[in-house]
Symmetry: C2
Subunit: 433 residues, 2 copies
Amino acid sequence: MKRQSIGVGLMGFGVVGGGVARVLIDKGPALSEEIGCPLILRKVKVLAPDLTKPQTQEMDSRLFTTDDNEFFTDPEIDIIVEAIGGESLALQYLERAISSGRHVVTSNKEVIAKHGAELIALALKHKVGLRYEGSVGGGIPLIAPFHDDLVANKINGIYAIINGTTNYILTRMAREGIDFSIALKRAQELGYAEANPENDIEGIDAVYKLAILASLAFHTEVRPEDIYREGISRLDTRDFHYARELGYAIKLLAIAKQSNNSIEVRVHPVFIPEDSLLAKVDDVYNAVLVEGDLVGKVLFFGEGAGSLPTTSAVIADIVSAAKDIILGAGSRAKWKLEPGKVIRPMSQIETRYYLRLNVTDCPGVLAQISKVFGDHLVSISSVIQKLTDSITQMAEIVIMTHPAKEAAMQQALEELAHLTVVKEINNFVRVEA
Amino acid sequence: MKRQSIGVGLMGFGVVGGGVARVLIDKGPALSEEIGCPLILRKVKVLAPDLTKPQTQEMDSRLFTTDDNEFFTDPEIDIIVEAIGGESLALQYLERAISSGRHVVTSNKEVIAKHGAELIALALKHKVGLRYEGSVGGGIPLIAPFHDDLVANKINGIYAIINGTTNYILTRMAREGIDFSIALKRAQELGYAEANPENDIEGIDAVYKLAILASLAFHTEVRPEDIYREGISRLDTRDFHYARELGYAIKLLAIAKQSNNSIEVRVHPVFIPEDSLLAKVDDVYNAVLVEGDLVGKVLFFGEGAGSLPTTSAVIADIVSAAKDIILGAGSRAKWKLEPGKVIRPMSQIETRYYLRLNVTDCPGVLAQISKVFGDHLVSISSVIQKLTDSITQMAEIVIMTHPAKEAAMQQALEELAHLTVVKEINNFVRVEA
């Protein structure tokens, strides 16, 4: 039976919802041609339509409803788009949408990261699709590549800049030598950071996205709480100074590695070589570097957030769902789960380290510090001793290590902190080659 | 009806075919699980099985056949992979494969660039899929993004490094200051360039790939002969020297732009700012930068060729075809064709130019040269005059222009060549911002 039309119901009318509605209307004819039958926005479900918003005024007011039952029982809605955001309310509505037998599209990273597996199981049960391309990296194709294009590969590693806010802040700190707090303030003024910036600057947003990518890539359920996390607020202008001197850039990286059945997942600031491609990803841009056994290194780059890029991904998901409806295809929702995968504890990871210390400037200091490292089998690759403060007789030392176990490094740090010659461990950043 | 298995028939057993066969066997169980039923390599059609090759010896000899009829009538083959290469024979076999009602996968850029539209029409007629992800950029997802992920976007521009051989040569010339011929020889020794390197160094390979990408992106048929083409052999070490001095890298770019219904498609060496991401794409790596109206800039990077990366793409296409067979989906083959698109002649494009001249070192030379440019409304942005050769009394001048029409620039060049003070126009390279 040839379908008369495909109807879309939209839940939420904020930054993403407004963009999706706009594009569905403006590009309706082209999208309908792509699909092979008319694609029509049928309803927009909101808590209360804000008639003062220009984007609301531009829409046909009859599209809006505040009535859940009216929305979920509308026989003309084939695809439901969740653009509510947040966790619990969005989750409830997603469950209701899937259970109502509609194909569902969302860009909600928090819900997918925390409840992806159960939602996908629900979608399979109801034989509908659950698509979430916009949940990671805005309009950059990322879910589809892991799902489809890289399907022949065993993924060995993911190295990702997936939070635009922190990347903007780090770019400003590196280029202008300004403090974290000033860079954050500028990001807030430009609308890149929220009034309460915790989710971004503490790496929580990046953790959600990495949980999704790692789950897909490694065929297991990686939950947000499995991921080691550090934010960027303790980075200092001096760290950027030394990084440049040593040939590195500082980025907040989301890292996932797999070897045998052991998985390593972490989000924290990292020194990366300044001539690497990821080091060139500046401002609010995102990039995801993937290493596969066949494909080698592939990198995906673009704007990781914002109304239009996210809308680009959501519309692609809608078109894909519409094509499946026309073909009569059932659910393609899937998180392939392979048994026996283990998350490696952070103490077991191995990496190189950058360390910045304030020490008393007297003979034998370096020997004492070196001994502590040696006792824990941490090998030093270089030391920079900087100008001494002649009044306090204090010196700043920067140490780079060879690869070492995190547990050993943490023990060494603890012992260092107890040396009387060490006044302060100013910072400590991991290094990726 | 649940299918018992999906059978694959492979035509050709060279670099790509051998890789595909190997992976189908080695990763068979995982791929079968992904699809939901066994995926089995049924037959490999070759002109004559070369039993001396290790990759042939590793295979079950019963898989090989030289008999076309046996291959095409095998009821257990559902998907046919063309890995023959070249144009006419591959085209014949592709037509036969499609007409036999099998889903078809190829990575043959030449055939798709030259005959894509007719093959897709044939696939539609026979209700089968024609997939060609491996034809551009090896394992980097590129066809799928244009087909699906970026479907909501109007594509305004494509800027691509899509030939690994030339990128390797240019990287060596830039880094080591060596001549083109020496860099080419090294590429040949490493197996990156063929004994007859014309297809790569003259930009023919890049033209095929751009024809495919531009056709998909702009919803029209861009044929190889529509694309303006220049190779890299006339680049000199001095050009790299000046490029660096001016803050540029030199890359062979495949460029496609669309404004209104006018399309600009060209492959030639380009000066690009050295701090741009594309300038960092070195050695045999490829990268494709896409500009869409919603998504903004997205970039795809990776190894653009080679057995395993291309195999990654071919296997992804096989898995996609297998899923469609199981779903009972018909053809998804499509080159959306919008009417009224026009290819802009090269004379009408507008860009900036780099120019290197040998001139007589005497007063008034620059005035004469400037006048020629001025007469053609080409505005000069900077001039570097380099050391004079005291014996010949010749000087080298480097000129960068503001944006100008190609036709005006060509006329200016012709007049310059007739000035008695101009001994030689050494080179002339376009500049992209």
